[in-house]
């Protein structure tokens, strides 16, 4: 803070304040500048939304909802998002099935069971650092570990393990630390009086957690999980390494298992690959895909926020 030495001391400033010699400018300009910064950030968001919606208009006006319901194609006139949306939903389901139980379990251990010792602090620090690891590094984890793991258990399919299961495992590892952190916050917000009351009537720790702590923390945990799953839904970079298709593919009438172990793609990956295609048709189509993605994500976010506001409890 080199500027602090050069500026007048606090005492001087306070004296000036009291004597009212520097009244005016700073009192209006300073908050105005702050508000401007905030509004500029929001203006970028508004510009982004308007720009994308305007560009997407051509595609939606020309083709209606066939943009959503058609399969992938290299032809901009017929290409659609159905496989990508289904792929993303399936990936999110895998992520939810893995990251939610493990994440909540880990958070319960850290908040309710763990003694305050070196090992616990190491786990906490480790989780905070995992949350800051760039997503593409998780892609490397998926490529070297999960793809091989999926192949080793015989679920590699025709793509040598670069399938939905490996992608889901990768995204689950990516969001696990965030699930743990948000769940731990929700658990911490439950007052310890609730727990003590439970122990006082002879409940074991697990009974206290199961019947008293979790019901109170549930809205917070669920909100956090929905927001986290939304993050997984919009993630692109790690999936590029774990083999999400950037071109097009067809599964025909393949069964459930074939779809789980075969080639796959996800909505954000399709946006990325369409954005690289030349031509105005694909540019509009990309914007349409972004609109679909944003609508899905904003619905999930709004649901989470409504959930939080309805069940939030002030202690």
């Amino acid at each position: 803070m080199a500027t602090r030495a050069a500026a007048p001391s606090t005492t001087d400033l306070v004296r000036q304040s009291i004597q009212g010699r520097r009244l005016g400018f700073g009192d209006i300009a300073f908050p105005a500048a702050l508000l401007l910064a905030l509004l500029l950030a929001l203006l970028f968001l508004a510009t982004l939304l308007i720009d994308v919606f305007v560009r997407a208009w051509d595609a939606f006006a020309g083709r209606g909802f066939s943009v959503v319901t058609s399969p992938l194609s290299l032809n901009a006139g017929t290409a659609g998002l159905w496989q990508s949306i289904m792929g993303s939903l399936a990936l999110t389901a895998v992520v939810a099935a893995l990251a939610f139980p493990i994440g909540v379990g880990a958070a319960i251990y850290l908040e309710e069971y763990a003694p305050d010792n070196r090992f616990t602090r190491f786990i906490s620090t480790n989780i905070r650092n995992l949350a800051g690891v760039p997503s593409i590094v998780y892609g490397i984890l998926g490529l070297t570990i999960f793809v091989r793991f999926v192949r080793a258990v015989g679920a590699g399919g025709g793509v040598y393990g670069k399938n939905l299961l490996a992608g889901g495992l990768t995204l689950a590892a990516l969001v696990l630390p965030i699930v743990i952190i948000t769940t731990a916050e929700a658990l911490r917000a439950v007052p310890s009086a609730i727990r003590e009351a439970g122990f006082g009537v002879g409940a074991t720790r697990w009974e206290v957690i199961r019947y008293h702590v979790i019901p109170y923390a549930a809205p917070g945990i669920l909100t956090g999980t929905v927001l986290t799953l939304a993050r997984a839904f919009g993630e692109t970079a790690p999936l590029l390494l774990v083999g999400a298709a950037t071109g097009f593919f067809s599964m025909g009438s393949a069964g459930f298992i074939d779809r789980a172990v075969g080639p796959y793609t996800a909505l954000p990956v399709t946006i990325f690959s369409w954005a690289r295609q030349p031509g105005a048709d694909f540019r509009s189509l990309t914007a349409a895909a972004i609109v679909v993605l944003l609508v899905l994500l904003l619905t999930a976010n709004a649901a989470a926020i409504i959930l939080r506001n309805r069940y939030e409890r002030k202690w």
Binding site: L36, L38, L45, V133, I290, N301, I305
Partner: protein
């Protein structure tokens, strides 16, 4: 009943205790999973990175540029590209994020805050691939090409501004938390001395929250360095790049180089040098962000100890 049996055993029923231990072990297992993931990340990066280093000619790590297919793995090209873009991102995100944070924490009325904060959270939830598209199709023609008419569609400046917008909500939310953690007594003491609001904010609240604000900036920088999609879409130089310092030119970053290798992995499949450079760059990226995260963690802990 119990009054008649003073020697009653208070340890409880054995099946109940056994279940208790089993549940505890299960949750411990869940917590240990996170350590396992860390070990796997480090292991998968270090193993392949080491075999890359031991196979490749070390002089190719300091070359004319980053062209993995031609065995030119110039580290300074990708690191400089990453740092330039992160610098632009922080030039955008620092004033916007801190300004928004101070306004929300100190000036906004509760009602305004209730509206503004969720909108900022929506901005935080916009996927990076969307911002990449926005950087390419809007920021590049409307901002970058106006600043410098010679700039092309792809430039490090466009990517940097896009990353900056992406990082702004993070900086805003972490530093706002830090400022709201400053006890009200400090503000009231300042008003009690007759200080104006602006004086209180800049001379009392801001210094008191300095370590949290510092943490938010370091965290933002770490996120900017690790950001992939915006850079891969808007910075250009997908196949490779010469060493470049002009931000109005296309440039290569560590993350974009990794993406390019990943998408093109059908052509560089197997275990040749180009493919393995992916792991080397990944390790470098991991170490850089880990260092920044550890520093930021230290700052955050300082705030927590203080208040």
């Amino acid at each position: 009943m119990t009054t008649e049996a003073p020697t009653i055993d208070l340890t409880g029923s054995r099946p109940r205790l056994r279940r208790e231990r089993r549940v505890r072990r299960l949750f411990l297992g869940a917590a240990v999973t996170s350590i396992l993931i860390s070990l796997l990340i480090v292991g998968s990066l270090a193993g392949e990175a080491w075999s890359f280093i031991s196979k490749v000619d070390l002089s190719s790590l300091w070359d004319l540029g980053w062209f993995p297919r031609r065995d030119m793995f110039d580290i300074k090209t990708v690191v400089t590209g990453t740092l330039l873009i992160s610098l632009i991102a922080m030039v955008v995100a620092t004033p916007l994020g801190l300004g928004a944070a101070i306004y929300l924490s100190e000036y906004a009325r509760p009602r305004a805050r209730r509206w503004l904060k969720p909108i900022l959270e929506v901005l935080a939830g916009v996927p990076s691939v969307v911002l990449g598209y926005f950087a390419l199709t809007w920021i590049s023609p409307n901002i970058v090409m106006r600043l410098n008419p010679h700039a092309g569609v792809f430039s490090m400046a466009a990517a940097g501004i896009g990353v900056g917008i992406l990082v702004t909500p993070l900086v805003a939310s972490v530093s706002e938390d830090a400022m709201r953690a400053v006890p009200h007594a400090l503000r009231e003491a300042s008003y009690g001395l007759g200080a104006k609001k602006a004086t209180t904010v800049t001379r009392v609240v801001f210094p008191a929250a300095a370590s949290g604000i510092m943490a938010s900036l370091i965290l933002g920088l770490s996120r900017a360095i690790g950001e992939t999609m915006v850079v891969a879409m808007a910075a250009g130089a997908v196949g490779g790049s010469l060493f470049e310092l002009n931000v109005f030119e296309p440039g290569q970053t560590m993350t974009a180089a990794m993406t390019a290798l990943a998408i093109g992995s059908d052509q560089v499949a197997g275990s040749n040098n180009a493919f393995q450079s992916l792991f080397f760059v990944g390790l470098l990226l991991f170490l850089m962000t880990l260092t920044l995260n550890l520093i930021s963690d230290r700052f955050v802990r300082k705030v927590r100890e203080k208040y």
